[in-house]
Symmetry: C2
Subunit: 151 residues, 2 copies
């Protein structure tokens, strides 16, 4: 299936993606590699910390969000070329057994002033748990191809 070009999008377009159930094993495995702190590594030790139990690294939650986004219902032609992320937030922690779902909304669209074959969009991606609580959100700036038109 051909991917989407800049011209195919309009402000406010929304996309609903798939879901992922996160396990304690995944949380610990990610943390061992990238974020080795007590509250990400061991349930018992985690109980005595700020979070009072095992929680996923924020980078793990964000990476799962990327997976849902990349395999979701928004498919740009040429892939996801991210150049920036702002407003990355974790209003609540992700805990073992949480079922994460993600959606996207197009919040900005602009053509390149210098390159006629591309433009940029800003997409707000939101990750929620099974109770509908936001566990992660961000605004990504991405490069999108334009359809080459006859001048």
């Amino acid at each position: 299936m051909p991917g989407l070009y800049l011209e195919d999008l309009k402000l406010g377009d929304r996309f609903q993606h798939g879901s992922h159930t996160i396990t304690a094993g995944e949380i610990v495995e990610f943390a061992r590699q990238f974020d080795p702190q007590a509250f990400h590594l061991d349930e018992k030790a985690a109980r005595r910390t700020f979070f009072r139990g095992l929680v996923a690294s924020g980078w793990h939650t964000a990476s799962i969000g990327m997976r849902l986004f990349v395999q979701g219902s928004f498919q740009p032609e040429g892939g996801f070329i991210g150049v920036a992320v702002d407003e990355l937030r974790w209003p609540r922690p992700t805990r073992p057994g949480d079922i994460l779902v993600a959606d996207s909304e197009i919040v900005e669209i602009s053509r390149s002033a210098s390159r006629s074959d591309r433009g940029r969009i800003k997409v707000r991606n939101t990750i929620r748990n099974q109770r509908g609580e936001v566990v992660g959100s961000l605004v990504a700036t991405m490069i999108m191809k334009r359809r080459i038109s006859v001048r």
Copy 2:
């Protein structure tokens, strides 16, 4: 060794962390789990993409940065409690064999208005490759404990 409290920091404090050499295998492994796109999965297929070769997922670069940060020379008491990240950028891609190094600078310090036992800081984390080029940067907002003092 006891960790740092809010009062131990001043604006402009800098911390140099360790290094990590990223392999093609790591890039592909991370991508399979979290960012399955051609330019992260397969060197040959990647040559025909925007990046003209295998590159790490931006989330992988950021996660390696977190690892260097967590195991680095800045150790807050109670761990790294991140509440927000802004200005996450990838000015250049990370490629196989790159040696990544990270440093941090304290760019904002504030006490909590409502909680006398804590405050917030903003830290600018920068990840560079072996040529000194920035491959990732961000500003993290973190909660820091205050020393409980006699009033």
